[in-house]
Symmetry: C2
Subunit: 235 residues, 2 copies
Amino acid sequence: MAYKYETVAADIRAMVASSLSPHQAIPSERELEATHGVSRLTIRHAIATLIDEGLLYNVHGSGTFVGSPTLFSKTPKLTSFTEDMKSRGHEASSRLLTMSREPASTETAHALGIPAGTECARLRRLRLADGEPIAVEDVRVPGPLLDIEEFTSTSSLYEVLADAGHEVYRAEQEIKAIALDEEAAHLLRVPLGTPALGVSRVSSDRRGRSIEYAFTLYRADRYTFQLAVTREADK
Amino acid sequence: MAYKYETVAADIRAMVASSLSPHQAIPSERELEATHGVSRLTIRHAIATLIDEGLLYNVHGSGTFVGSPTLFSKTPKLTSFTEDMKSRGHEASSRLLTMSREPASTETAHALGIPAGTECARLRRLRLADGEPIAVEDVRVPGPLLDIEEFTSTSSLYEVLADAGHEVYRAEQEIKAIALDEEAAHLLRVPLGTPALGVSRVSSDRRGRSIEYAFTLYRADRYTFQLAVTREADK
DNA sequence: AAGTGGTCTAGACCACCGC
DNA sequence: CGGTGGTCTAGACCACTTC
């Protein structure tokens, strides 16, 4: 069930991998149009997706070229902790610390855009990479969305939510530096006051309805945040 | 010299601002096609740019809708310190600490993809927001790109580089939490060991050629990093 | 079934780059 | 100047949502 632009994109990806070096030009759009027997718009659609990935770049009036290796890494995308760790070459695991239902604090209510006091499911988890503690996570999900009775320490929160019809599509994150308090320092096995990365995340579905509010503390010596940005968002 | 899709995008933006609330539908693509007298592809192009900005979202088979306020803030884009501060409602200023030419360290050479020992321009600047110190910045630019004799404390590095034909287009950043050393703590006027956000940035032009390698320490109590991410990068 | 956005065609002309 | 990517048209059909 592949669309034409997807097969064209796959063809170009294969051509780049097999026989082109960074900064070499790929065939022009009109050439690709002829060799693939599709319209130029379809070629452009395929190339646009590969530019999004950072595999190619183009210059108006000049051509389309293979990106340099430092441009390979993609624009930031939303991933689960497990996916994130896997992409970094680590095996993720998790230990459920507490699981409860509580009324939303004013902070949680504001973040999720719900009335204060609304019942929420709250999960606190210790996150491990290759068996070593790397982060402490504190998540709130609005009451009706998650049935905590069905949640176990090995469950993927995003999968459970998706199965219930709430697929996470987008998130806003705020990253700050924080000195660890006693409890978090103990859980992460570092001295009190050690700097850590604190990440607040509000996730929502495609329609912009809030799904979760999470605050995660990452050990600074084991975790850094990486992202690529471009000068213009449009195209 | 505005393109049609730009004027259509501006029209839609105005319509949203003046008379639509979050989650309300905008007119269908075929309606807009008729009312604006342009082809549907042009309408789609306009809508695509607005979706990129987070102003709209669409659902296949259902319609195109106004995004909720929490989705307003855009996907992360590359900005200068001055632009960044302005968007946060602060006035940026700068104090040039040191300016020199030095051979590239192995770290700098690796980051910029140049041979170790290549001469680079190095700038160290104290960054201020509303007159208060907020960050210490340490920037290296490969030798031939920047004439430090022409650089003053009020110059915009990106503008000077752009004037010399090296326009910053993309950057890769790494964010970590760090305890401030004595010198940085003194410059930022906080106690030794205070947590700070450390941001490494390698910027490149549209062709992927490295332009600058910067390391910036931000006061944790005055600066946080914000970004929106989506589940899939393509479309 | 009707309406929506998603893909696709076969052209055309414009804006930009390099020689 | 010729070749490149960027914009645009007027249609067509497909895939999905909603009723």
